[in-house]
Every structure is written in C-alpha cells, then in structure tokens.
C-alpha cells in the first residue's frame, strides 16, 4: 500500500496550537491556585497531571482498548490489540521496579464468574459507544459530544446500580444474604438490603483475590515473587498474544505484500516486528502509556510515603474536609490509572444533591465515599485525560465539536449504561480490572479480557445486524 499525503495547512493554522497552550496554561494556573490554597492538594494534582499525560498519549496514538477487541472482529485490524499488548508489557516491567522499590499500593481483584459476566456486559456495550472508558474520555477531549454522553451514562448507571434495592433484592440468593449479614458491618450500611451490597459482602468478599506469586506461596521471596508475576502474568501472555495476532490477522497480508511464499522463522519474526511498528503512533503511545502508568504508581506511592498516609481520605480529614469521606475516613484513591469508580462518584454526588440517599451501602458508604468533585483526586485524572486529549487534538487541528445523531446518542446512552453495569459487576473496567491487574501479577485481568472479548464479539454481530437491517429497511442497494 502506498500512502500519499497532501495535508494542506489552512492560513492561520497556528490557532489550534495557541488554544492547546491556553488549555495547558489553565492547568498550570489551576495547579498554582490549588497549591496556594493548601499544598496538600498537590496529591490531587499528581493525579491530574498524570491524567493529562494519559490524555495526550491516548489521543496521539488513537489509543482505545475498545478498538483492541472490536476492530479484530469488525474489520480484522490488529493495530490496537498490538498497541495494548505493548502497553501491558511495558507497564508490567515498570510496575516490577516500582514494586521492588516498595511503592506499589496494588490490591488484586477477586477471581470469579462475576468478572467474566461483568466484562461481557461491558464489552457488548463498548461496541455501541465507540470507545472504552478511557477512550470515551479522550474522544470527549476531541469534541465528541456522543462520548460525553457515554461518560454521563457510565457515571449514573454505576451510581444507581450500587444503590439499587427493592425488586433487585429478589434476585439475590439467600446464601449471599446470610453471608453478608455475618460480616458484622455497621448497621447504617444495611448490607442485607440492596443487591450490590449482598453481592459484594455475601459473594465477592468470599472469593479469593490473589497475585500468582501469592497463590504459589512466594510471598516470602519478594524478588522471586515480582519476577514470577511479571513473567508469567504479563510478559509471556503478551508475547503469546502478539504471535497469535500475527498468525491470525497480520501474516497473510504481510507475506503477500513482501512476496514471500515460503517464509523462514526469521521472516516471521520480521513480520511480527512489522506488525508492532505498523502504526507508529499507536506503538509509541502504547510504550509511553505503559511507562507513564508505572511511573504513576511510583508517584502516588511517594506522595503517600511523604505524607505518611495510606489513603487520600486521611489528608482530606486533616484539611477538615470530611463531608465526602466514607465511614472509614477513606475515599477512592487507587494510586494508579483507573476510570470507572470516580465516574460513579460523580453520578452519586449529583444524585445526593438531588436528595437521593447514596451512602447506605458498602460501595460509597464504607469504601469510596462521595467527595465533592473539586476534591476528587482520581476524578481530576479523568478531567486531565479530557484536557490532555483536547490539547493534543487542538495542536493537530483535529478538535471538532461533533453532535451525535439521534441513533448515536441512543447508542451512547444505552451502551454507556451497559458499560457502567458491567464495570460494577466485574469490579472494574478495561483499565482497573484488566490493565492494572495483569501488569501487577493478578491473572483475573485475563479473565476480564476474555469476557470483554466475548461481549465485544456478540456486540459486533449485533451492530452489523443493525447496520444491515437499517440498509434493507431503506432499500439502499449499497447497504449504506
């Protein structure tokens, strides 16, 4: 394939760069103001600036994990799956160093059917929204109003799912209710009311959450534990995935283009390298995101060490900002790249302002709290992603305010709602339940990817059927 480019910069095309610089200046000004108010707000700024870094790279590489699985099935393009694997490999290597340095605050996810089911619902919805949780944020930064609707839907659906009771309680097995009741939780949380509390305390808490090294009893040998986690949960699966992606999706076209009829092993290896570098932007973004995500873990760990805290809630309490804290004086503060929970907090904060009781549950009441969005540290990471993507899109003259059609708006809201429901059932999205887990020795992330892939496969089938049905209904001979 040859590619000719005749991109014609319009007169005055520096306008986008100036606007990007204005966004950057706003970020710097906000940081100075925050530090002037209280230097401890620097904890939030660490999240925000890493978010800006993620946003810049996500937009630069058109890096969306939805595309990683969806485009394989929809158009047989492995570009994004390759980029994702590069990011996983590098994040795992940086995480290994951070863990050995003693700065990792990673907690493994519980392994169970809920991961597979939640991920499948998430993956199905993701095909219709056009982006994963992070992808929707960076596309919002490109001016895509449909992606903004996805964020709204993810936020409110999660907030509603974790607080829903009444009819939903009838779906809960009696064993979950009994197990939840036995956990001796504070009475105000009402853990035997509300399906999500009973699912969490009566089912998920009873499951095993562990890294591979802990399963193998290597906790007493920190270096060996990190090597085993990194090698067997990230590096080897990544290499196997790259070989499979090459063999199934890239090899036929590559051999045809290179006019190779009887390939040697060396030519196949050259083919794998060609696949990894086929999209320079995606590969560079994947590498950058992997390193940045690892550095983020280190930076948050260093901040916690500096302030002598384990959770940002302790700093908020010291600042006298207690209203958003959970019963344990905590707020959601993962210490690494994560997306969905802070969006659930945004939704819950709005609903609480409207008078809906939101704290009589484990998710908000015991663990994550509902901080004011101005004091929501991971929330500023999400805002940072939007801002970083906007900067990159503006500087490349790719920013454009795009209003969705009625069809796209409905897809965004319904798909986003499914993503929110799936993320809560699986206890995370493609970032928190996959990207952050497999890079830290927790194999449950691969189960999430399997479920997300299965859901996306069904989603692509349903989406294709929809497109074809629309075409046949209109009598369009081209199916368009």
């Amino acid at each position: 394939m040859t590619t000719a480019t005749s991109s014609i910069p319009a007169p005055g095309s520096h306008g986008g760069v100036y606007k990007a610089l204005a966004v950057l200046a706003a970020g710097i000004l906000l940081s100075i103001l925050a530090l002037a108010v209280d230097v401890r707000l620097g904890y939030i700024l660490v999240y925000m600036w890493f978010g800006i870094g993620y946003g810049l790279l996500l937009q630069y590489g058109r890096f969306c994990m939805a595309a990683a699985v969806r485009d394989l099935f929809a158009v047989r393009v492995p570009r994004m799956a390759v980029g994702m694997m590069i990011a996983v490999g590098l994040y795992a290597l940086v995480s290994a160093v951070v863990t050995l340095a003693g700065f990792s605050g990673f907690h493994p996810n519980a392994m169970g059917w809920h991961v597979l089911i939640g991920a499948a619902i998430f993956g199905f919805g993701m095909v219709f929204t056009g982006g994963c949780a992070s992808g929707s944020l960076y596309k919002a930064g490109e001016g895509n109003v449909g992606s903004m609707l996805v964020i709204v839907a993810i936020s409110f659906s999660q907030a509603i799912v974790v607080t829903a009771g009444g009819w939903f309680d009838r779906l809960v097995p009696a064993s979950w209710t009994a197990s939840a009741a036995a956990k001796d939780m504070p009475a105000e949380l009402k853990v035997t009311q509300g399906w999500f509390d009973q699912f969490t305390a009566g089912h998920v808490w009873d499951l095993k959450a562990s890294t591979l090294s802990a399963m193998l009893g290597l906790a007493g040998s920190p270096v060996l534990a990190v090597v085993v986690n990194t090698l067997f949960v990230a590096v080897i699966p990544v290499l196997v995935s790259l070989v499979v992606l090459y063999a199934v999706y890239f090899r036929p076209g590559y051999l045809r283009r290179a006019k190779i009829t009887a390939p040697t092993l060396g030519q196949h290896l050259a083919g794998v390298w060609a696949m990894c570098t086929a999209s320079r932007n995606t590969a560079l973004a994947g590498a950058g995101l992997g390193v940045l995500a690892g550095a983020h873990v280190w930076a948050t760990g260093a901040m916690r060490s500096h302030y002598g805290v384990e959770n940002f809630g302790e700093l908020l309490a010291a600042m006298g900002r207690r209203s958003g804290l959970s019963l344990q004086d905590t707020v959601f503060d993962p210490g690494y790249w994560y997306i969905t929970t802070q969006e659930a907090q945004w939704g819950a904060w709005v609903l609480e302002r409207l008078g809906v009781p939101m704290r009589d549950n484990l998710f908000f009441g015991l663990d994550n709290g509902i901080p004011n969005p101005l004091l929501n540290a991971p929330g500023f990471m999400s805002i940072g992603i939007i801002a970083g993507a906007a900067m990159m899109a503006l500087s490349r003259r790719e920013f454009k305010l795009k209003m969705p059609s009625a069809e796209a708006a409905i897809f965004a809201l319904v798909g986003g709602t499914l993503m929110g429901i799936g993320a809560r059932i699986a206890m995370g999205c493609n970032i928190g339940a996959f990207f952050a887990t497999v890079t830290n020795g927790d194999p449950s992330g691969w189960v999430f990817l399997l479920g997300m892939g299965a859901g996306a496969w069904v989603g692509v089938k349903a989406f294709t059927w929809w497109v074809d049905w629309q075409a046949s209904r209109k009598g369009d001979e081209l199916g368009l």
Partner: protein, 83 residues
C-alpha cells in the same frame, strides 16, 4: 446527519461518514470498498480521528492504496484506490 454513499462519476465514489464515531467509519469504509471495482476510487470523508488509524491498517492488509489525504479542522478527506 446520515451516512451518504454516492457514485460521482464513472469509477469515482464518495462516502461521507462525518458525525459518526467508531466503529461506524471503518465498518462503512470496509462495506463501501467491497462494492467498488478494481481501480475504482473512493473519496472518504470522516471526522473521527481514531478511525483513520484502523482504515490505514485495513487498506494495508487488503492491498488498497490511500492516494491522497487532505486533513484539517477536525475533518479528513482521503482518496482510496481499490487494487
């Protein structure tokens, strides 16, 4: 806003998918290219940047040529020649 696909002259086609995010642009492009004959050209207009990377990879895999790219102000106009 709807997707439009038209034959402008003999062997020349236009597909306009502005206003649509992933996966619409790449899926419609794949569908449109399947309708074209060898040597035909497709003028593709889209405004979802991330679709571009997938469309490049798709053309690469299928052996189609992107012979012209005009980009700016959030819109992309590419000409793809089917081999």
């Amino acid at each position: 806003m709807a997707v439009s696909f038209n034959q402008t002259t003999d062997g020349k086609w236009t597909l306009d998918v502005r206003g649509y995010a992933c996966p619409h642009p790449q899926m419609y492009t794949k569908k449109a290219l399947q309708k074209l004959g060898s040597g035909d050209e497709l003028k593709l207009v889209f405004d979802n940047p991330s679709s571009g990377e997938s469309i490049i990879a798709m053309c690469e895999a299928d052996g189609n040529d992107i012979v012209d790219r005009v980009e700016g102000d959030g819109s992309f106009t590419w000409t793809i020649r089917k081999t």
